[in-house]
């Protein structure tokens, strides 16, 4: 569990990038908090700097779009999902619970099988 910032410092429509490896982006989408891997799966760009509209974030470099709820791309040029992470607020502080690499790998494999 990683403390990110005070909830007051992340108003609706804003995002923050945390320097984990790999980096994670936390969004306040109209009051709902979401965390995903920050780096676009198409090419090196920071999604925390993207365009937030509803539950979608558009990459600032080539306009790939990701659903914050699932991490899945909703349009090209991205084809692979970003990982999603659980977000909680405790005593006014936003925390990210990083999805473990193992779980993420299993999830992406399941996704691959299902597709």
């Amino acid at each position: 569990m990683i403390p990110v910032c005070r909830l007051d410092d992340l108003p609706a429509g804003e995002s923050v990038r945390i320097d984990t490896t790999p980096p994670i982006a936390v969004f306040n989408a109209d009051g709902e908090l979401y965390a995903i891997d920050d780096t676009c799966t198409h090419q090196d760009a920071s999604l925390s700097e993207g365009w937030l509209e509803g539950c979608l974030v558009e990459c600032p470099l080539h306009a790939a779009s990701f659903d914050l709820r699932t991490g899945r791309p909703t349009c090209l040029p991205a084809r692979r999902a970003v990982r999603t992470h659980r977000v909680t607020v405790d005593d006014g502080t936003v925390h990210v619970h990083v999805a473990s690499e193992v779980l993420a790998a299993v999830a992406s494999e399941e996704e691959g099988t299902a597709a």
């Binding site: 090419q43 600032p60 470099l61 090209l76 040029p77």
Partner: protein, 393 residues
């Protein structure tokens, strides 16, 4: 339409194939590509691929699943060498022919070359094979590298070479690189990035010739200077691949002439990407190559120009750790104003800047160095044709 042939298997060719299926074309789809490779993304070739930060896997534009869905016949490693006068038969370099009802021309452009390009150590950087060859040479120890041409490919390649520890000089014939794209003030700022990256920038002199017998040994400049070199990279632009259309009825002039809807003089032949001169403009931009196919395919299937496309020009470049992004249509008479961040000593400040190009009180274009968020806002506003206000606040 029972058969559609896409000539060109790179970015715009793949996007065209996708659009055909997405728009309901369920006939025979043939894709012809002169390179032996499946569609791959070229922008990383001068950047992460060259430095070894990313590999060939990451260049792939498609995957097995999508390939199955597209259900196309891929004729790769074979060049198209002609289109008959009715636009109904594509002739291939190996003698085969493809009879077709519709044609999408997506043959792209080729790197311009210089006399002496056959010397060992002289490279262009356009294709995966080009990048593989250059990458291998750059991995063989520290070299003296001369990059001819200070445009985006030249600058990115110089930046990658410097990052790998090579001794790099960039030669630009104009007084400053990138003036046609950015205008003189902002071109000067971007030129400052070379200096900051430890690369020598020689401007205002052309190249007289390449020296060497078997391998290149140097670059002779028009002003008489000789730059010793082990590796020379020629980045002096690209010419559209239209030679194969010489015997067709299509109008060719620095590209395949199309109307605003990517349609040529033949309604069942459309053109997209670097090879297409759409409504008088030929853009060698990644984003144009991805945006034109939707409209081109719609018009092809409709049999006439039902929709036109005029996307806002957008390009980006990563060099010396800075990300440059530009969108809009500027004229030389536009004024330019730094709206955020700053410039000092003719180079971007730490944290970059956002510059607005203006004409008669309107924003015509926007340039950003390391300011992706306000850039994106400004680009969207430009695309919607509204005044860029927020970015200036």
């Amino acid at each position: 339409m029972r058969t559609v042939t896409v000539v060109g298997a790179s970015l715009s060719g793949l996007y065209a194939a996708r659009e055909l299926r997405a728009q309901g074309f369920d006939g025979r789809l043939v894709v012809v590509g002169d390179e032996p490779h499946r569609p791959y993304d070229r922008p990383p070739l001068s950047k992460d691929f060259l430095t070894g930060r990313s590999g060939e896997d990451q260049l792939a534009l498609s995957d097995a699943e999508e390939t199955t869905e597209l259900d196309a016949e891929w004729l790769l490693g074979v060049r198209a060498r002609g289109l008959d006068v009715r636009g109904r038969t594509v002739l291939l370099g190996d003698g085969r022919t493809v009879s077709t009802d519709g044609v999408i021309i997506a043959t792209g452009a080729s790197a311009r070359r210089l006399p002496g390009c056959e010397l060992a150590g002289v490279h262009t950087l356009r294709t995966l094979d080009d990048a593989r060859a250059l990458r291998a040479e750059l991995a063989a120890g520290t070299r003296r590298v001369v990059v001819i041409g200070g445009g985006f490919i030249g600058a990115e390649t110089a930046s990658s070479c410097a990052g790998l520890g090579h001794d790099v000089t960039v030669v630009e014939a104009a007084p400053l690189p990138l003036v046609p794209q950015l205008g003189p003030e902002m071109a000067a700022v971007c030129a400052g990035l070379h200096r900051r990256g430890g690369v020598d920038l020689v401007t205002g002199t052309g190249v007289a010739g390449l020296r060497g017998t078997v391998a290149v040994t140097g670059v002779e400049l028009a002003d008489g200077r000789l730059l010793p070199a082990d590796i020379v990279i020629v980045g002096i632009g690209a010419t559209p691949n239209t030679d194969w259309l010489a015997g067709s009825t299509l109008a060719l002039h620095d590209g395949v002439l199309c109307d605003d809807g990517c349609v040529t003089a033949l309604p069942q032949v459309v053109a997209v990407g670097d090879v297409a001169r759409v409504g008088g403009t030929r853009a060698e931009h990644w984003t144009s190559a991805t945006e034109q196919p939707r409209v081109a395919v719609r018009n092809l299937l409709a049999g006439h120009t039902a929709e036109t496309v005029r996307p806002l020009p957008y390009f980006w470049s990563d060099q010396y750790g800075a990300r440059i992004q530009f969108a809009g249509r500027r004229l030389d008479t536009d004024t330019v104003r730094i709206a955020e961040g700053g410039v000092s000593d003719d180079a971007p400040d730490e944290g970059g800047f956002l510059a607005l190009y203006e004409r008669d009180g309107r924003t015509t274009a926007v340039l950003s160095v390391d300011r992706p968020r306000p850039f994106m806002r400004a680009r969207r506003e430009l695309g919607r044709g509204v005044t860029v206000e927020a970015a200036a606040s």
